[in-house]
Amino acid sequence: MTSSSAWKEAVATVIRQLNSSNKLHDTTVLLVGSVARRANTPTSDIDVLLISPRRLPPVVTPPEVQVFTMTRAQFIQRLRSGDDFPHWALRYGKVLADDSQWWKHAMEDTAADAWPSWQRKLDQAEQRLSFAMRLFRVKDYEHAQEECLLATRHFARGLLLWNRVFPLSQPELPGQLRELGCQEAADALDSLVTDSVHPRTLGKVERLLREWISELRRKANVRSVSERRVS
């Protein structure tokens, strides 16, 4: 597991670079992802989100660190478009630097009941699944598994959001699915993070995912029709 000193050291590298390029004073630095939730595994990246008034120059980091950069306008735009990532950062991100106090104001301005789009996650799940099957057809099973895992994670997040459960970090998703009674989806996620999945299993996960996505869309239609009738 990434130790507390490891992420602190990695983040210090990022902050030093921002400082030396005179960008720290108006850049908000956040720790996001599983390390922020203290749910990281030995293979987890250290995810850092940088939000600044203007586009930042590239930041050089150790390989285990993933830096996401956004301008303030992009952050707000993505938040409003229902993207779950900025919503996640608002809820669970750990502020490491915010000299300009922009983050503090952003949090105050954001409606507490704002909710990311579950439909967006299902669309992303379908896109990744489609790519996974194209890799599968050319017999690139290793990368097909990776795309299948991405598709399953998108689906898991969509399903949780639909059920008004906010998705936590990646390693926590199977547990959240089980709490919701979705044992099969949780098992699929667990199996896809293992080293190597048999092509037959990949094919099975693909069929299941398509069924689950269709079922969720069908339920959403039914709910939408009944809500229209009530109103």
């Binding site: 992303q124 017999k139 690139d140």
Partner: protein
């Protein structure tokens, strides 16, 4: 798996290079970058297999192996940074977060450099390389 494994990865590579080519023709950077990333990783694994260099199924391991292959003079170029950058772009695509970095990418250069790299790996695998 060595030579057999290396050849099978190269076969995948040629197929995926064609997908990159199609995506470049269609001016579809999202497709191009994703296929290119996977093709680069498969090429690195092909060279590692031929060189009998251990590798793991993680992106960091493949970046590490790419650097080692260059240090051993198996490959003329250290493509570890290319792998890292393409992986970031691929993830942006997967999460619907593409931005200026993808827009700035020269797709024709991407295809040409990948093709050159695969040719170099193929020459090494078949014993015609350095």
């Amino acid at each position: 798996m060595s030579l057999k494994g290396a050849r099978s990865k190269l076969e995948l590579d040629r197929n995926q290079l064609q997908r990159v080519h199609d995506a470049v023709e269609m001016e579809d950077p999202e497709e191009a970058v994703t296929w290119a990333f996977y093709a680069y990783e498969n090429a690195v694994v092909a060279a590692a297999e031929r060189e009998q260099l251990p590798w793991k199924k993680t992106h960091i391991s493949k970046q590490d192996v790419a650097e080692k292959l260059h240090r051993r003079s198996v490959l003329s170029r250290d493509i570890s940074d290319t792998l890292h950058d393409l992986n970031e772009l691929r993830k942006d695509v997967a999460y619907g977060e593409t931005g200026a970095d993808l827009e700035a990418l020269d797709l024709e250069d991407l295809e040409a450099e990948l093709e050159h790299f695969i040719d170099e790996v193929a020459a090494f695998v078949e014993g015609r390389g350095r």
